[in-house]
Each structure stands twice: as C-alpha cells, then as structure tokens.
Amino acid sequence: QQPVQSPQAVILREGEDAVINCSSSKALYSVHWYRQKHGEAPVFLMILLKGGEQKGHEKISASFNEKKQQSSLYLTASQLSYSGTYFCGTQAGAGSYQLTFGKGTKLSVIP
C-alpha cells in the first residue's frame, strides 16, 4: 500500500522553509527520500532506518517516527535548486527490497 504524501504541491520563495510529510498505514522498516527534477531520474536524498532517527543533508533533514509510521522532510532556507518533485519510498521489512513510493510532492521555489 502506497504511502500518503502531503502536501501535493507547494510554492516557496527563496529562503523560506517547507515540510513534506509521508505517512503509511503499515509498519515501516525504513523510509527513503528522493528528489526528481523534470525529465530526470530520481536522486537519493537520505534514508531513515530507525524510529525517531533524524538525518541531515545540507539544509535538508528528515525525521522518522516509527510509532506513527510517519516521516517528514524538512527543507530550510530553500534555494532555487530545491525545485522538483519529492518522493518518499517506504520499505516494509528488512527482507523486502521493494520500495513503494508515494505520489510525490511538487516543490517550486521562486525568486
């Protein structure tokens, strides 16, 4: 069952912050975050393996609440290069190699 992402789309001005949420109705082993620019392949941002774990990547960080089966991606001081569609991919168990992606959140950063 695919995770649910919110919001579906967001427009930011440069320097503003955004939060993208990903929630699942199933227990999760890990959450992966990817960014895809138009016409390009998804690019890995980070993976979260443990409940409550937070990871950071430049000004992009994420958290994973295992109890709530939710992950959030935090983009701070957004740059024009952050524009794209963000997908969360969830992995149900350690023995499962399948990543189930949400529908994506389209982020547009404008000057």
């Binding site: 392949a41 990543l99 994506g104």
Partner: protein, 112 residues
C-alpha cells in the same frame, strides 16, 4: 562517479511488439530493480533481482514481463507483447544491501 546506464534513452514500438530495455548497474552492486513512471505520476516498483533470481515483483509485473542478467554486467527488462498502457519511463536502479538506490536516467517507452 559510478552510475547506472540505460539504453536506449527513447524507444518507440508498435503495439504487440516485443521490446528489451537494457541497463548496466553499478559494478559492485548486488541488488537490481526496475521501476516505471507513467507521465506525471509516481514511481512504481516492478521487480527486484538478487543472486540471479527475482526477489520480489509487483502486480504490474505480469507474464508479459521478464528480467534477465545475461552476463556479468547487463540487466534487461523484456516486455513480450507491448500494450498502449505500457508507455512510460522505465528506470533501472541498483544498490548494495538495502541502502541508497542509484537510478539510471531512464528509457522512455512509447507504444503506438
């Protein structure tokens, strides 16, 4: 930097024809995947492959699809009898263990 390469970048085929999409995963990776993305929609899992066999497959991956690793470097997706609804971008990905998956640039398949 190592990368996953896919060929061709664009394939146009007639309905009912067979197509083979090719991928060269990163050389020391052990797990290989095919995903597809219909225009404007989410990325959908098709199949994972490890140790020369399918590990998992989705409902989309029916009998018309097959995967092969014919030699030590290539990983192929064959669609036996293409349908209009098979038109999509097909991404190959690979990784070590269960970490970061590296995606290729994709093959845009257009079935006419």
């Amino acid at each position: 930097e190592p990368e996953v390469t896919q060929t061709p970048s664009h394939q146009v085929t007639q309905m009912g024809q067979e197509v083979i999409l090719r991928c060269v995963p990163i050389s020391n990776h052990l797990y290989f995947y095919w995903y597809r993305q219909i225009l404007g929609q989410k990325v959908e899992f098709l199949v994972s492959f490890y140790n020369n066999e399918i590990s998992e497959k989705s409902e989309i991956f029916d009998d018309q699809f097959s995967v092969e690793r014919p030699d030590g470097s290539n990983f192929t997706l064959k669609i036996r009898s293409t349908k209009l609804e098979d038109s999509a971008m097909y991404f190959c990905a690979s990784n070590q263990l269960l970490g970061e998956a590296f995606f290729g640039q994709g093959t845009r398949l257009t079935v006419v």
